[in-house]
């Protein structure tokens, strides 16, 4: 009987465990997580804090899942070291677990800036149920909150805190929100939604100190100004949780490097999810795409390969769906172009009155990026054209049409059509 170990009990770990079990009924599967909570929908913690959903709705898999699938689940245990030479992992409490194959799905953690006061009580990352519990306990005393960072996680945190009655300011180093995934035009539409709902945005500034005595009192900006705040959320991106493999000989960059089977340089060790750096289809180079759908897909393929399926992974790409106060926005692939490179072509159209904006980035007749704001119903079609690297010369004229859809791409995409006779 084979013994498989999965470090991580979230998107990537769960989908890997399911896939291994689907293909191999007998193998022993052990999942280890440093959190003390059953698998949950990490992306929903802001909805939970906002009280948009009840706690039971964030449970991704209940305890019965592990029993039904004969999976040993070890919670609240941190793995500190992977020892490939002896095919074992070592935990903080010295517990050792041996494996025939190992999946590292340890995800990522918030990056904290190196500024004075960042360790004070009342400063939080926004990543775990534990964070939410602690934030919750401060809500009765804190009247104002500052969010450092204008990315998706920061804005979701801002929304939740606003919904819970706090005064919320978001401090954004860039000139506009969501600068990693949206251009200024699309970001402007999102900003209207936020400011229209009394979330204050402070752009072009950064925090340089967190002031307080024990607890936090205020945030000091690079402009010299201090903003009163009893609660601070740090949302300045995430870093892969790789400390456990630093000395293992596993090849690392921004994430654990994997090949097109999602194996690391050590053949019986795989990686999936936010901890992984894999080929980005639109950038055409390795990249960490720390996204839920990417983690699920990678987990499934890594799990299949641990069960000897030999599946290939095509690669990932950036994809974000953003929704604030009724305005949907989708960002796919890349939106930044090199103005000096004539192989790029950009198509865009906007109708600010209707809060609609669309932009397409094309390189050598292949779609490599898209932003859709206001109207997103056919975004999956564009994602598909990108994933499959389709030559879009014959259809790009139709990209802005509301009734553009699958029938118009069915001849050019990879599909063995079954339903249209």
């Amino acid at each position: 009987m084979k013994k498989f170990v999965i470090i991580g009990n979230s998107a990537a770990g769960i989908s890997a465990a399911e896939e291994i079990r689907r293909r191999d009924k007998d193998a022993a599967i052990t999942m280890i997580s440093s959190e003390d909570y059953t698998a949950y929908c990490r992306c929903l913690i802001s909805y939970y804090l906002a009280k948009d959903i009840k706690e039971e709705k964030i449970v991704l898999r209940p305890q019965s899942f592990y029993k039904d699938n004969n999976i040993e689940l070890i919670l609240d245990k941190e793995v500190t070291r992977v020892d490939p030479k002896k095919n074992r992992i070592i935990c903080a409490d010295k517990k050792q677990v041996e494996y025939d194959a190992l999946l590292i799905a340890s995800g990522a953690s918030p990056k904290f800036p190196d500024i004075k006061g960042v360790k004070r009580k009342g400063v939080f990352g926004f990543r775990t149920i534990k964070d939410i519990r602690e934030i919750e306990s401060l809500l009765t005393v804190a009247k104002a909150a500052c969010v450092l960072g204008g990315g998706l996680v920061g804005l979701k945190a801002a929304y939740a805190l606003k919904k819970r009655g706090l005064e919320v300011k978001v401090i954004i180093k860039s000139q506009h929100v969501l600068s990693q995934v949206l251009d200024a035009a699309a970001a402007g539409l999102v900003e209207q939604q936020l400011t229209g709902n009394a979330i204050e945005l402070i752009k072009g500034h950064d925090a340089i100190e967190i002031i307080g005595e024990g607890d936090v009192r205020a945030v000091k900006l690079d402009s010299g100004k201090a903003l009163e705040s009893g609660l601070i959320i740090v949302a300045k991106g995430v870093a892969a949780n790789m400390n456990l493999v630093r000395e293992s000989g596993i090849a690392l960059n921004q994430g654990i490097l994997v090949n097109d089977m999602l194996a690391t340089n050590i053949p019986n060790i795989y990686a999936a999810g936010d901890v992984t750096e894999s080929l980005d289809i639109t950038l055409n180079k390795p990249n960490v795409n720390a996204l839920w759908p990417v983690a699920v897909e990678q987990g499934r393929i890594a799990g299949a390969n641990i069960a000897q399926a030999g599946l290939k992974y095509d690669g990932s790409l950036g994809m974000n769906s953003i929704e604030f106060f009724g305005l949907p926005v989708v960002s796919l692939g890349v939106y930044k172009t090199d103005a000096n490179d004539p192989s790029y072509e950009v198509l865009q159209k906007s109708d600010p009155g209707q809060k609609v904006y669309k932009k397409f980035v094309i390189k050598d007749n292949v779609l490599i990026g898209a932003i859709l704001a206001g109207k997103i119903h056919n975004s999956g079609i564009f994602l598909r054209l990108m994933r499959e690297k389709i030559n879009i010369l014959s259809v790009k004229e139709r990209f802005f049409a509301d009734d553009f859809g699958y029938p118009e791409i069915r001849d050019i995409v990879r599909e063995e059509e079954k339903i249209y006779l």
């Binding site: 929903l44 959903i53 997103i376 999956g380 029938p407 339903i419």
Partner: protein, 151 residues
């Protein structure tokens, strides 16, 4: 397991299926009252046009459903026994991740209800409402055609 197939030579693009779909998913099930419902029932099927032909487009209940992978709320789940992708509306948060990834554009946002619109094969009914509504018989409800994958 039954699936929806379309004889596109017969499709006139009359949208009878769209209307029947919206009606079947309305609260009151009658056209006179359905159009007055507060949350207007919208069709989960759309007729799209390409190169002289009409194509009814709706969810295919894929076996490797991208929408299920992307659903960060675990609201969309593939039910293997029934061969359908099921949607638990009580878990859905209206994040539109599913819309972003569907390779057929077959799941659409309903901004008002914050719940996506997608064919549910009329769940427990014997056949989907669109099948009978089609005046030319272009929509076929039959056992799945097994295609051998000799890729």
């Amino acid at each position: 397991m039954k699936q929806l197939y379309y004889d596109i030579k017969k499709c006139l693009g009359c949208k009878s299926c769209e209307i029947a779909c919206a009606l079947a998913h309305s609260l009151t099930q009658s056209i006179l009252t359905a159009i007055k419902e507060e949350k207007l029932s919208l069709p989960r099927k759309k007729i799209l046009y390409s190169k002289g032909k009409n194509y009814p487009v709706s969810c295919r209940h894929c076996k490797d459903p991208k929408c299920v992978d992307a659903c960060m709320a675990h609201a969309l789940v593939y039910n293997k026994e029934k061969g359908i992708v099921e949607h638990d509306e009580s878990r859905c948060v209206g994040c539109w991740m599913c819309v972003m990834v569907c390779p057929y554009g077959a799941i659409r946002p309903n901004i008002k209800t914050k719940i996506p619109l997608r064919c549910d094969k009329c769940k427990d009914k014997d056949e989907p409402a669109c099948v009978r509504a089609c005046p030319t018989g272009a929509i076929i409800w039959q056992e799945e055609v097994v295609v051998d994958n000799k890729k």
